[in-house]
Amino acid sequence: MSRHSFLEATLQGFTRAVSKALQSEHAAAQPGLLQQLDPRVRVLGIFGLVVSVILCRRIEAIAAILLVAIAIAATSRVSLASLAKRVWLVVLGFSGVIALPALFITPGEALATLPALHLSISVQGVRAAVLLVLRVETAATLTTVLVLATAWTHILKALRSLHLPAEIVIMLAMTHRYVFLLIETANQMFESRKSRTVGTLSGAERRKMTARTAGVLLSKSIELSQEVYLAMLSRGFRGEVRLLADFRLKARDYAGLTAFLFTGGLAVWMGR
């Protein structure tokens, strides 16, 4: 690992987070199937499908929900290529590696033997690994499609309509807003430090630098929270949180909700 790679890796992480957010904003503005539905129906319907994924006990039923998720993505103008890059490959790399040893160590009926390694693969191991990876892929696809097709403010309003406490909703909204401001601040601090660094830093110096940057960011965050608080007070904030919830359900929303619930229910029944 090069001496500056930890800095570059952090900077790349910041860029990735911001680009993901921009991608979501872009996709949410497209005229797709999900985008036409009331945000409450989207949130409730997709959450319902995610729950049905973990309730299903059969591979076929989960695979069917994955196909439905792909169909929803395609009709909601969510790029399948970006889904593959952002979700499917990442999940396969992470959960696939985690599930791999299950092929060999799950006790059960032997399916095949690797002669060179004296390892046998069990039927139960294969099923366990496929169930795990498929479940994670399907749930992650559904969640990502929801996030890509719905503006964050709409997700929050939908959560509030579904009776999440107003304080929690407002904290989620404010945190989301200030995450990007703090990412920008941290990005600038790391970039300026990188531009001033000549030669190589020792391990201890690198750790000190990271901790100091985090410390400065903490001081700035506390200062920022004070300023935000004063700004809220000056605008009449007295501790009560009110959110505008101007959603109205139309006929297509009822149809959409019925379709989501029917699909999830059918999958759970078939996959029990």
């Binding site: 690992m1 930890f6 800095l7 992480g13 910041f14 987070a17 993901k20 729950v51 994924v53 973990i54 006990r57 952002r86 999940v91 992470f94 040893p101 299950a102 160590i105 799950t106 059960g108 139960q124 366990a128 795990l132 479940r135 994670v136 749930a139 992650a140 969640t143 996030v147 964050w152 406490p165 304080e167 407002i170 904290m171 989620l172 404010m174 945190t175 989301h176 995450v179 703090l182 990412i183 941290a186 391990g203 750790r207 990271t210 901790a211 985090a214 410390g215 400065v216 960011l217 903490l218 001081s219 965050s221 506390i222 920022l224 929270s225 935000v228 608080y229 809220m232 904030f237 501790g239």
Partner: protein, 366 residues
């Protein structure tokens, strides 16, 4: 440590949502009580800070890097209740907006990292920092150990949640339906990474930030010391050290009740407890094998040791194996034993208190 959707069964997810919701409710109530209108901006911005800190690549000894959660510094600056909310909000944004960690597993993730992590970090920091000066080296060491222990406690709880899945949720053919590895695989697999990289990353960030704050912004560390009402640290100062709090009897009862509800977890433990063998265990070939394995593969003696055989008949327990004989369900038996044990201790305490009131002179005399 962020468990994705699909690794935990629906009932596990529901249980941990319930645990986490209890923690969130208590934390929100406490923070609002202490900070009033200031709570929302402070917790929100601090959650955003935790989110960004989780993205930092922390350089570790050996040339590698790791990610911290930020729970150590959050507990030190905000106190445990504020930290629960800040870390939970950061985890919720990660799950809902960035797809890092599942939606159905959000309760479990918040329980593991926000609740267990915050309380562990706070307790360890308070214990080691004790009454040392805010600018002392002892506080830096305390922060490092607090961060390290908190992350490992969270990882252990996560590993247990994952490790109980194949035992509790499998189909008729024995196929695990969720996380496929039992406790003896899940715990070492999870702990190796956290005892080394992740724990170190948290220790480095917690200690480094406390060291920085000692020089640059000492007021932020006063939350835990209770020396002043620092802007960002009122939660902890009011909750912790300004007025040393005693555990109220009501809370203690709730804690005892929760512990009693957890007693059936003992059924999940495989094998026999080392050194707690009965004379019957020495004669049973299956338990003899377990004794040998648990004792470093040393074969146990061929017959029951004479001392054990002689003393084993001295006392017969009313609830052998933590279950009265008439109870068929082991889980209910554990619960009944816990209730009986707690009741017995309470009765003994009441009798002792009564005796102390009756003979106050004797009690305080010598």
């Amino acid at each position: 440590m962020h468990i994705p959707d699909g690794y935990l069964s629906p009932s596990t997810c529901a249980t941990f949502y319930l645990f986490a919701a209890t923690g969130w409710y208590a934390a929100l109530k406490r923070v609002k009580q202490l900070l009033a209108t200031r709570a929302i901006p402070l917790i929100s911005v601090f959650a955003a800070f935790c989110f960004v800190v989780m993205m930092f690549n922390v350089p570790l000894p050996g040339g590698t890097t790791g990610h911290a959660v930020g729970v150590g510094i959050a507990a030190i600056v905000l106190g445990p209740w504020g930290s629960i909310l800040a870390i939970s909000i950061a985890l919720a944004i990660q799950a809902l907006f960035f797809g890092d960690g599942g939606i159905t597993t959000l309760g479990a993730n918040c329980f593991n990292m926000a609740i267990v992590g915050s309380f562990t970090a706070y307790a360890v920091y308070r214990m080691i920092a004790a009454n040392s000066k805010l600018s002392s080296r002892q506080r830096v060491v305390a922060a490092a150990i607090a961060g390290y222990v908190a992350i490992n406690a969270s990882a252990l709880v996560t590993a247990v949640e994952l490790g109980i899945q194949p035992m509790l949720f499998h189909d008729a053919s024995g196929t695990p339906l969720y996380a496929p590895y039992p406790l003896h695989v899940a715990i070492p697999a999870m702990m190796i990474g956290h005892l080394t990289f992740a724990g170190l990353a948290e220790a480095v960030i917690s200690a480094g930030m406390v060291s920085y704050l000692q020089r640059a912004e000492l007021s932020l560390l006063r939350g835990v010391s209770g020396l002043a009402q620092a802007p960002g640290a009122m939660i902890a100062s009011a909750s912790a050290e300004d007025s040393p709090r005693r555990l109220s009897p009501g809370r203690l009862w709730w804690a005892v009740a929760c512990l009693m509800l957890f007693t059936p977890l003992g059924i999940l433990a495989a094998g026999t407890a080392w050194g707690e063998w009965s004379s019957a265990d020495w004669m049973n070939p299956h338990t003899r094998e377990q004794i040998g394995t648990a004792s470093g593969n040393h074969a146990p003696p061929s017959s029951v040791p004479a001392g054990i055989e002689k003393l084993s008949t001295v006392w017969t327990a009313p609830f052998p194996g933590y279950a009265p004989r008439f109870v068929k369900s082991p889980g209910f038996g554990y619960l009944l034993s816990a209730m009986f044990g707690v009741g017995f201790i309470v009765l003994a305490s009441l009798l002792a208190r009564l005796a102390a009131r009756k003979w106050p002179g004797r009690n305080s005399g010598s």
